[in-house]
C-alpha cells in the first residue's frame, strides 16, 4: 500500500539528513504504531507519506502513485490528523458539511456516533471548544472519512485520561477491513493495546518493523523482583519493584507487549531482534 524506496530528506541544505536511503513498506490493513524518540523523523515520515514534504531523493508511493503529486484521487484516500491543526470557527455540523463532500466514503452515521462517544454535539462551535475537545472533534471527522489510509500524529496529546480510553474504543470500533491506520506517538502506553504492527525509528533508520504477534512469539516481557536472576535476559531495566526484563521466548509463553521496555531495549541493543531470532 505504501512503498518508500531510497528516501533521503533533509530540512534545508545545511541541516543533517532526517532520512538517508530509507526504505519501508506498509501493507494494507491494520494499525501501525510508529514509535521513536523526539526528533527521529516520525512526523516527517507522516508528512512525506501525505505528500506535504518533497523527498530530496527516492520515492514515497501510495497506491502506486507518488504522494508528492498531491493528486485528488490520492488525497481522498488518505487523511492526516496532524499534531498542530487549525479548525475554522464553525459548528461541527457545518465543518462536516463543508469538508465531507471531498471524501467519497464519508460516513455521516459514523461521524455522529464518534461525536456521541466523545460527548460532543454537532451544534458545538469549534472555536468554543477546549483543545482536547477540538482534538476529539477532528479525530471523529478523520475516522468518519473512511479513507483507506489514516495517519495520526500524536493523537492522544491533549486528551485527559478518560478521553484516552475513549479514543482507543472509538478507533478500535471504526477500523474496517482494508483500512490502515498509522499512529505516530511517543506516548506508547496510549496505543499499546491498539496496534497490530510496530515500526520503530531511531536517528532516521528503521530499528524494527514487526507485527505484535511476531514480537510476542519471540520475546517475553517480565517484571522480576529485586534479587531474582537475570542471566537469561537480553535486556534489563531497573524498576521500583526490581527489574523489567526482555528475554527470548523459548518456552512459548504469552506475555503482553511492553512497548516502552522494547523501545528502551532496542535503543540500547540494536541487535536485540537478531539475538532473539538466532537459533541456538
Amino acid at each position: 500500500m505504501i512503498q518508500i524506496d531510497h528516501l533521503s530528506f533533509a530540512y534545508g541544505g545545511r541541516r543533517p539528513a532526517v532520512f538517508s536511503d530509507f526504505a519501508l513498506t506498509l501493507e494494507s490493513g491494520g494499525i501501525y504504531g510508529l514509535l521513536g524518540k523526539n526528533g527521529t523523523g516520525k512526523s516527517t515520515l507522516l508528512y512525506l507519506i501525505a505528500g506535504l514534504l518533497r523527498p530530496g531523493r527516492g520515492s514515497v508511493r501510495f497506491l502506486g502513485q507518488e504522494t508528492r503529486s498531491r493528486r485528488p484521487e490520492l488525497l481522498e484516500e488518505l487523511y492526516l490528523l496532524p499534531e498542530e491543526f487549525t479548525l475554522p470557527p464553525v459548528s461541527l455540523r457545518r465543518y462536516a458539511a463543508l469538508n465531507a463532500p471531498f471524501y467519497p466514503r464519508f460516513s455521516a452515521g459514523l461521524f455522529a456516533q464518534c461525536l456521541r462517544d466523545f460527548d460532543l454535539a454537532p451544534t458545538d462551535n469549534l472555536a468554543e471548544l477546549s483543545m482536547g475537545q477540538r482534538k476529539k472533534a477532528i479525530v471523529s471527522f478523520a475516522l468518519a472519512t473512511n479513507t483507506r489510509l489514516l495517519l495520526m500524529d500524536e493523537p492522544t496529546n491533549g486528551l485527559d485520561i478518560p478521553s484516552k480510553s475513549q479514543f482507543r474504543r472509538v478507533v478500535a470500533r471504526s477500523m474496517t477491513e482494508g483500512r490502515t491506520l498509522v499512529v505516530s506517538t511517543h506516548q506508547v502506553h496510549d496505543v499499546e493495546a491498539l496496534i497490530d504492527r510496530v515500526v520503530m525509528l531511531d536517528g532516521g533508520r528503521l530499528l524494527l518493523d514487526r507485527s505484535v504477534a511476531d514480537i510476542c512469539a519471540r520475546l517475553c516481557f517480565e517484571e522480576r523482583p529485586a534479587g531474582s536472576p537475570v542471566d537469561d535476559a537480553l535486556y534489563v531495566q531497573p524498576t521500583v519493584h526490581g527489574n523489567a526484563v526482555v528475554r527470548r521466548n523459548d518456552d512459548g509463553r504469552d506475555t503482553p507487549l511492553d512497548l516502552e521496555l522494547l523501545f528502551g531495549a532496542l535503543l540500547e541493543r540494536p541487535d536485540l531482534w537478531e539475538q532473539a531470532t538466532d537459533k541456538r
Binding site: A50, L53, R70, R71, E76, L80, P82, N99, P101, F102
Partner: protein, 295 residues
C-alpha cells in the same frame, strides 16, 4: 488526471468562503469603516459649512441664471472631485486582498489542512485567487454602497444631503479608458489609444500580480514588505535614470507607438511571469520550510 473538475472547484470555493465567514464579515465591516471615513473626510465640511466658493462658481458657470440647477451642478462637481479617493481606496483594497490571498497557508495547521484537501492545485489556487480579486471587488462595492447610503441618511441632519457618490466612482473608473476619456484626449491615434489602454490595464494587473506573488512567497507582513520593496525599486529607478540621463539621451528616439508596444510586451511578460511563479510556488509549498520565512 483532470486538472480541473467543476463540481470539486465549487466545493473548494464554498469551503474557502464559508469556513472563514466571520473573518470575511470582519473584512467587509473594515471596508465599510474605511469608505465611511472617506465619506466623512470629504463631505463633512461642505455639509456643515456649505459648498465652497469654488464649487458654487463652477455651478453658476454651468447653469447661469438658474440658482437650483447651479447648486445641483456644484454638488455634482463636489461628488465627482472626491471620486478618486474611493478609486484609490479600491486599488489599496485589491492589492491588500491579493497580498492576503494565501493567508490560510501562514500556519502549519492551515497548510496541512489546505494542502491535503482532495482537490487539484489548480482548483485550490484559482479558488483563492477568485476570492482575492472578484470577492474583494464585490466586498468593496457592498461596503461602499452601504457607507454612501449611511452618509446620505446622516448628513441632511448637518444641513446638506448630497446624492450618491457611487455613479461618480463608476464614471471615474470607466472614463479614463473610454473613447472620449482622458486617455483618448492625449492619444488621438486609434492604435496609440489601444496600446495606451493596454498599458494602463497591464500596469494595474502587474501590481496585482506582484502583490499576489509576494503574498505567496512571504509569510509575514507580505503587504508591507511588498510596498516597501516597490517603493525602493521606484526610488532606485529614478536614481539610475538620473545617473545615466546623458547616456539615455544618446539612444535613438522611438516613435510613441513602437515604444508603447515594446512596453506593453514587457509588462505582459512580467505579468505572466508573476502569475506563473506564484502558481508554481503554491504547487511546491511544503508544510515545513520552502517559504522564505519559516514559522
Amino acid at each position: 488526471m483532470k486538472c480541473f473538475h467543476l463540481r470539486r472547484f465549487g466545493l473548494v470555493l464554498r469551503l474557502d468562503l464559508l469556513s472563514g465567514w466571520k473573518r470575511n464579515l470582519r473584512y467587509v465591516a473594515s471596508l465599510y469603516a474605511g469608505c465611511l471615513a472617506i465619506e466623512f473626510a470629504n463631505f463633512y465640511g461642505p455639509s456643515r459649512n456649505g459648498l465652497s466658493e469654488h464649487y458654487l462658481r463652477l455651478g453658476e458657470r454651468a447653469c447661469p441664471g438658474q440658482p437650483d440647477a447651479a447648486l445641483a451642478a456644484a454638488e455634482r462637481g463636489l461628488l465627482a472631485d472626491n471620486a478618486p479617493a474611493f478609486v484609490a481606496f479600491l486599488g489599496f483594497v485589491l492589492t491588500l486582498a491579493a497580498s492576503a490571498a494565501f493567508e490560510n497557508l501562514r500556519t502549519k495547521g492551515g497548510r496541512t489542512a489546505y494542502l491535503t484537501l482532495p482537490a487539484t492545485n489548480t482548483e485550490k489556487y484559482l479558488s483563492r485567487l477568485l476570492w482575492a480579486t472578484v470577492g474583494a471587488v464585490i466586498a468593496f462595492w457592498i461596503a461602499f454602497v452601504a457607507a454612501d447610503v449611511t452618509r446620505m441618511a446622516l448628513f441632511p441632519i448637518l444641513g446638506h444631503g448630497y446624492g450618491s457618490t457611487v455613479p461618480y466612482v463608476f464614471h471615474e473608473l470607466t472614463h479614463f479608458f473610454s473613447p472620449d476619456g482622458y486617455l483618448n484626449f492625449h492619444m488621438p491615434d486609434a492604435t496609440e489609444y489601444l496600446l495606451g489602454v493596454a498599458f494602463l490595464a497591464e500596469l494595474l494587473l502587474l501590481f496585482h500580480a506582484v502583490y499576489l506573488l509576494c503574498g505567496t512567497l512571504l509569510r509575514r507582513h507580505p503587504y508591507l514588505l511588498t510596498t516597501l520593496g516597490l517603493i525602493a525599486l521606484g526610488a532606485l529607478t529614478v536614481v539610475l535614470i538620473d545617473l545615466y540621463a546623458q547616456r539615455l539621451e544618446r539612444i535613438p528616439a522611438f516613435d510613441p507607438i513602437t515604444l508603447l508596444a515594446v512596453i506593453d510586451g514587457v509588462l505582459f511578460a512580467a505579468i505572466v511571469a508573476c502569475y506563473a511563479l506564484s502558481y508554481r510556488s503554491f504547487c511546491r509549498i511544503q508544510v515545513v520550510r520552502h517559504k522564505w520565512r519559516r514559522r
